[in-house]
Symmetry: C2
Subunit: 189 residues, 2 copies
């Protein structure tokens, strides 16, 4: 599909309104396709990663390693794949391995990139990268910041597939990750 | 799974920093599970809807009706399902029917709720509701705000399934919607 110029806006100016640690709030002035000036509010944010750790439990059932934590936006406990922010100068893959280790104490022998998408192109400029992690071994305690409180659980893949997007599995970003995982699985055959 | 009190934070105080039309920025003070005070930045936002319009093209191929538009966060053109904000006092279903009509001129004879999830519980307090729309008829021109420029296209379902999360299909919120749709389809059999 060709780019339709009738849909494109032109950047005029931008101004930072607030620094919020995990993002900066900007007001951006743009010129519409028909030449009208408008302003929009945007979040300038670092890229994110989600890592789907795949391993068997003691009964030999294929599981995902999920983290349970309080989420400050929804004020709810969620069950999610380990996830976090890509540090400055860090590769998304390194960030995925680091977050996995910090949040669960597990090290991955193998990591596979599954896909990258904009978590919300309407008002965010960042990307979220999804990985799957295999050959997992528990190597150390969690390594959490002093405002992080995270439990982790092995949950059968079948349960996560069924429950994702409901109840505790209420983080939509994890639906993006699981969709990338399922497409990758299908391609593997 | 029972709620683990060791993971819960307690609200202390909140303060609005900025009104940004489609969300308000807040700073919230909370008490951690071990009694330390921390502040977090949150977006207070209205709920969103996404509506997946299902219809056949002239060749009888099952298609989704997709909208093409410039996204101000990513500064890119995207192909998405029609989507928008639930107005004050409006039901999510009404919002879905309204957005579909405004963005494409199509009216739905039948609409089905597919699921509701938090688009980002880490720093947003809102929910996004997904619907599928059927029995579609083109009843009028688009009805767009004067800063909206949207084209619409019939895209075969097979193409969207294959491309979602890549190229122009780069809005992660649409991956949430498609995941809800595919689960609903599977349950229908």
């Amino acid at each position: 599909m060709k780019t339709d110029k009738k849909l494109l806006w032109k950047d005029l100016d931008r101004r930072k309104l607030h620094s919020c640690r995990i993002f900066d709030l900007y007001e951006v002035k743009r010129l519409s396709p028909v030449g009208r000036e408008r302003s929009f509010f945007l979040l300038d944010a670092p890229d994110w990663i989600t890592v789907i750790p795949v391993l068997k439990n003691d009964e030999g059932t294929e599981c995902f390693l999920m983290v349970e934590q309080f989420r400050h936006g929804s004020s709810k406990l969620t069950l999610e794949f380990p996830a976090g922010i890509v540090d400055k100068g860090e590769s998304p893959e390194k960030a995925a391995l680091r977050e996995l280790k910090e949040e669960t104490g597990y090290r991955a022998g193998k990591i596979t990139a599954l896909g990258t998408v904009s978590p919300n192109p309407a008002f965010m400029n960042n990307l979220t990268h999804t990985f799957a992690a295999f050959d997992l071994s528990f190597v150390s305690e969690q390594n959490l910041d002093d405002d992080e409180f995270i439990h982790f659980h092995l949950v059968p893949v079948a349960t996560v597939e069924k429950e994702m997007g409901t109840g505790r599995y209420s983080n939509g970003v994890m639906m993006m990750a699981l969709a990338f995982y399922n497409r990758w699985k299908m391609v593997q055959g």
